[in-house]
């Protein structure tokens, strides 16, 4: 039986500055089951990272506000925890791999120091045990442990991201959030790092949320997929629903349509027409209607409800 690890209900996050209010995440629902992986796909600015940072409650202080919703993790609502209790969860039960390995490691501390820190915070280990565990996780991510006394600037980008992964996995988290872990790496290294994350995730039976804008990555790694557009989840389901299902949200269709087909001699790429709306000036009704090829009158007037086809959710008037 699948056991729920994380449940996001009706989450709404805004960024408020003096000039404008940005509706970054709008009433999303998400479920993640133990041992499974969920891919969140969407363009830049769709609210993927905001969703991730909401889970570990590290949204930019003062600017970001969670207006409503619940994030239930292991049967407790993370949004109601005190900062002190939240600290016990960060790095220990939920850990995160960040997008840019170049800037995510502290330049003045050795790699050993940075991995050991998270162990010292959460594990009741002695000095020797910590050292042993640091070597262990370094080996896990394929870094020779004699490099543990080096500083981040002595590592290449891909190696730095491996260190980031080692930090994230050091305390055996229940949930690993990987926020575009390979976007900043070059293509050859991307595949290596991605394979490693995939392999470690299934070996360690960690649940994972993988944030990406690359459908290929999701197809390779994830059990479940959620497609985000303008702060909403427009379609979600199993990888099979998304990649092989018959019904799709027009945005998902657009995403697939924009991947060039190698079998046909295509002169031009087929991008989705238009650009994503300014998140401070979202359109009325369905957020996607200005770019949608199937736009109807109701789409401009009313925001569609999500409809479920056996766990495959689509938020579109076409299917209501």
């Amino acid at each position: 039986m699948r056991e729920k690890l994380l449940e996001i209900r009706d989450l709404k996050v805004i960024y408020k500055t003096d000039e404008e209010t940005v509706e970054a995440v709008n009433n999303i629902d998400l479920d993640l089951y133990k041992g499974e992986s969920l891919g969140i796909v969407g363009e830049t600015g769709a609210g993927k990272t905001t969703t991730a940072l909401s889970i570990i409650r590290l949204l930019p202080y003062r600017v970001a506000k969670i207006l409503s919703g619940e994030i239930i993790f292991n049967e407790q609502n993370l949004l109601e925890l005190s900062e002190k209790d939240m600290r016990k969860i960060r790095g220990n039960n939920i850990s995160m791999i960040f997008q840019d390995p170049m800037s995510s490691l502290n330049p003045v501390l050795t790699v050993e120091d940075q991995i050991a820190e998270v162990l010292r915070l959460h594990m009741d280990y002695g000095k020797e045990m910590i050292k042993k565990r640091v070597k262990e996780v370094l080996q896990l991510v394929g870094i020779p442990h004699d490099r543990m006394f080096e500083y981040p600037h002595q590592f290449s980008g891909g190696m730095k991201q491996r260190v980031g992964i080692a930090i994230a996995l050091a305390c055996d988290p229940d949930l690993l959030i990987a926020d575009e872990p390979t976007t900043a790496l070059d293509v050859t290294i991307q595949a290596q790092v991605l394979n490693m994350i995939d392999e470690l995730q299934s070996r360690l039976k960690t649940s994972m949320i993988l944030i990406t804008h690359d459908l290929g990555v999701v197809a390779q790694t994830c059990d479940n997929v959620a497609i985000m557009y303008a702060g909403e989840i427009v379609e979600s389901g199993t990888a099979k629903d998304i990649f092989e299902g018959e019904r799709h949200h027009p945005y998902t269709e657009g995403l697939f349509g924009s991947i060039p087909n190698l079998d046909i001699d295509e002169k031009r790429l087929n991008p989705i027409q238009g650009v994503m709306p300014e998140p401070s000036m979202l359109p009325s009704g369905c957020r996607f209607h200005p770019r949608c090829p199937h736009c109807m009158d109701i789409c401009i007037a009313e925001s569609p409800q999500s409809k479920s086809f056996d766990g495959h959710h689509i938020k579109c008037h076409l299917f209501l």
Binding site: L58, K88, G91, S103, P107, E117, H153
Partner: protein, 308 residues
């Protein structure tokens, strides 16, 4: 690292030579002659000429310069035109006051400036931040002599707690050190606030938070060390500047320091005295800058790896 230090020390030689040449030139080419100034306006011209000849001032400029350098290399910095005593005597007497004062002043500005700067950054836009910024701007704008006089007025004349001038006990240093520390504290506060604001927004600080580290650890271990480079520079330069630039403070509190000595000697055209004092100050200045650069290496391993 060793080679780097040796190279830097060797570089001191041409720099010091350059300094001697510039000071010597300025002292020689500016109008006025020591004989007239020291003997006074009423003295006979013949006596003045004789006095100058005794000092060797009738010889050409380059000859005098080369002689000076040749003597200085052997450790002979000459006699003061004014007192006829070896120049190092008055420097030795005054140097400790100046160093103590500069050290206390810089220490004071660090103790006030760094914590308040961190507080202002961590609690940006809070009451403390606004209070810190406003008082920093006010204090940076306060002239040293005015602050010194106000301190004397209040603590010496009104309350009678501290001596207003001279040297002798540690109490004599309190007000001069405060006078020197306040503007420096204001500068360090603003600088610390700015660099801390930058570092606490970096990705690696977010990584530290994502590990579950306490806010205190995040600020002191992860952010501060990265924010330290510009602060260290500023402190080092302030200290070096304070060594030569405490003249006003010395004057207000009647402290017999190096600054006063240099000013008096320049006015008296006492070239050997000026040369010796300025050489010592510029030597110290360069040593301090070297120490700052070495400190960088300790703070930031990326810089250390470049010191080859």
């Amino acid at each position: 690292m060793k080679r780097y230090i040796i190279n830097r020390l060797l570089l001191l030689i041409p720099t010091i030579l350059g300094v001697t040449f510039i000071i010597f030139t300025i002292m020689s080419l500016t109008p006025g002659d020591p004989g007239r100034i020291i003997l006074g306006q009423g003295a006979e011209q013949a006596d003045v000429d004789q006095f100058n000849r005794d000092l060797g001032l009738d010889r050409p400029f380059l000859v005098r310069y080369v002689t000076y350098v040749a003597n200085a290399v052997r450790g002979d910095f000459g006699l003061s035109y004014r007192t006829g005593r070896p120049v190092y005597e008055s420097i030795r007497n005054r140097f400790p006051f100046t160093v103590t004062l500069a050290f206390l002043g810089v220490l004071g500005s660090m103790i006030i400036g760094i914590p308040l700067g961190i507080l202002s950054a961590v609690k940006q836009y809070s009451f403390w931040d606004i209070l810190g910024s406003v008082s920093a701007m006010f204090l940076a704008a306060v002239p040293g002599f005015w602050l010194g006089l106000m301190l004397i007025l209040f603590f010496s004349l009104r309350l009678g707690w501290l001596p207003s001038s001279g040297v002798g006990t540690y109490q004599h240093y309190i007000m001069p050190a405060i006078t020197l520390a306040i503007p420096g504290a204001a500068r360090i506060l603003r600088l610390t606030r700015t660099t801390m604001l930058e570092t606490i927004r970096t990705d690696y600080v977010r990584t530290a938070r994502a590990k579950g580290a306490k806010e205190r650890t995040v600020v002191w271990k992860h952010a501060l060390r990265n924010a330290l480079l510009p602060i260290v520079t500023s402190i080092g330069v302030s200290f070096a500047a304070a060594l030569g630039g405490t003249v006003i403070t010395e004057a207000v509190f009647a402290l017999p320091g190096l600054g006063t000595l240099v000013i008096t000697s320049i006015r008296m055209k006492d070239t050997p005295q000026v040369m010796a004092a300025v050489l010592l100050l510029s030597f110290l200045f360069m040593i301090i800058i070297l120490l700052i650069d070495l400190t960088y290496g300790f703070i930031d391993p990326r810089i250390k790896s470049m010191y080859r």
